[in-house]
């Protein structure tokens, strides 16, 4: 029988209250095993306090060729950054 364990992506939240972050992937037969394996592979040195696993097949990713249309428009919108606005020092801390 030729039936490879599916691929899972692993996300871990570290100790300091930050978002879960993608750390890598692994193969597992089901979600429960994926969590167990993730614990052994990705948290051997106290790297996290919470693990998410999701089957890789369920992730929809943007395509690399769409890079331009997706991200270039924001390059011309410098006013979205606070440094765009000159506020005189006399106005005090802002």
């Amino acid at each position: 029988m030729k039936h490879e364990w599916p691929l899972w992506e692993v996300f871990i939240r570290g100790q300091h209250g930050l978002n879960h972050r993608h750390v890598g992937s692994l193969h597992a037969p089901d979600a429960e095993m994926a969590l167990k394996i993730a614990r052994d592979v990705y948290t051997r040195r106290n790297e996290g306090v919470s693990i998410w696993v999701v089957e890789a097949a369920h992730i929809t990713a943007s395509s690399p060729s769409g890079k331009g249309p997706l991200y270039e428009p924001s390059e011309s919108k410098v006013y979205r950054h606070p440094t765009f606005f000159d506020i005189p020092d006399e106005a005090g801390h802002m």
């Binding site: 890598g24 992937s25 692994l26 089901d30 592979v41 051997r44």
Partner: protein, 325 residues
């Protein structure tokens, strides 16, 4: 390094696309899985990352040999943790290779039937406890020499795997050196064991960097693509320069009568390993090649029912859940 003599694949892609690709690499950009890449880049990386992953996995065997016979409970738990790390490193690397369009099972099967290689170093036996010291100090030390620059490699998933591995690898070398310190400062018999381990592992460790640059035909393209960051001889020299003072501190003698400091080049002159032995080991005729591959094949075959059983169980649960909904 755990990847030796990785053949660079020729590439027959559109020259215009190739130029854009090369410009990205030269600019220090990372290449990510779904992006366009030359076929040769992809194939060379699969071979190199795969060989690296296989080395981590096969590399568990010479050390696993001593887990049940470690001299103290503390040494045993440390060795267990190290060997577990090696399994982890293999998994990070397999995942990186899989992003290039090869499956985990395919990679495993290519190792098991000899189509893919692992590092020559793991075909040497670990005869005494002092070998656990020598392996950590020298073998992991040599691997670190190669892995640290590879953190900057052009392929994103490979680079990220290397960063994780490097974070964990330093513990491996230090625990090995610590064993060597204990042995070298121990009884005369223990010191003799330490010296013997150094004698046996010195040249095989130098071989880990692969043949001399003048005989290394695969380097140029790989270096241009930033999947190889330094030449074999550069890394070997760096390793010798770093390791000789460490051996002196232990009061042990590097088994090379020609070894001496060269003021002019600011490094040691040292004897090359016996390259005919290296090629022989690569061909499958090292002391432990047969044993290592047999062990991996047995583990794979004996584990088949577990892999299949867990998959069948997962499917059964999924069907039951669907039926309940």
């Amino acid at each position: 390094m755990y990847a030796q003599m990785v053949t660079s694949e020729a590439t027959q892609d559109d020259p215009e696309k190739l130029a854009v690709f090369q410009a990205r690499i030269d600019a220090g950009e990372k290449v990510e899985p779904k992006e366009w890449m030359p076929e040769g880049y992809r194939k060379t990386l699969i071979r190199q990352i795969g060989q690296h992953a296989h080395s981590e996995i096969v590399g568990q065997l010479p050390e696993g040999n001593w887990i049940t016979r470690a001299p103290t409970l503390e040494r045993k738990t440390i060795l267990l943790a190290k060997v577990q790390d090696e399994a982890g490193h293999g998994l990070y690397l397999y995942c990186a290779a899989e992003t290039l369009g090869v499956s985990r099972d395919e990679l495993t099967e290519m190792l098991l039937d000899g189509r893919m290689k692992y590092s020559s170093i793991f075909n040497y036996p670990t005869l005494t406890w002092a070998d656990m010291g020598a392996v950590g100090w020298l073998v992991d030390g040599a691997a670190i020499m190669n892995q640290v620059p590879l953190q900057r490699t052009s392929y994103g998933p490979y680079s990220r795997a290397m960063i994780r591995i490097c974070k964990e690898e330093s513990f491996h070398q230090r625990q090995g050196y610590h064993i060597m310190m204990k042995m070298a400062q121990g009884t005369p018999a223990q010191k003799k064991m330490a010296q013997d381990a150094l004698n046996r592992f010195w040249y095989p460790s130098l071989m880990m960097f692969g043949p001399s640059d003048k005989d290394s035909v695969h380097s140029a393209q790989s270096m241009k693509w930033k999947i190889k960051m330094n030449t074999n001889d550069e890394l070997r020299q760096k390793f010798v320069d770093q390791t000789v003072p460490q051996a002196e501190f232990l009061g042990l003698t590097v088994p090379d009568e020609t070894l001496h400091w060269n003021d002019e080049k600011g490094g040691y002159d040292f004897a090359e390993p016996d390259w005919s032995e290296f090629f022989d080991v690569i061909k499958g005729n090292g002391p432990c090649n047969t044993e290592r591959l047999a062990a991996r094949n047995k583990a794979w075959d004996d584990g088949a029912w577990v892999r299949e059983g867990l998959m069948a169980h997962a499917e059964k649960k999924r069907t039951a859940k669907l039926a309940a909904e």
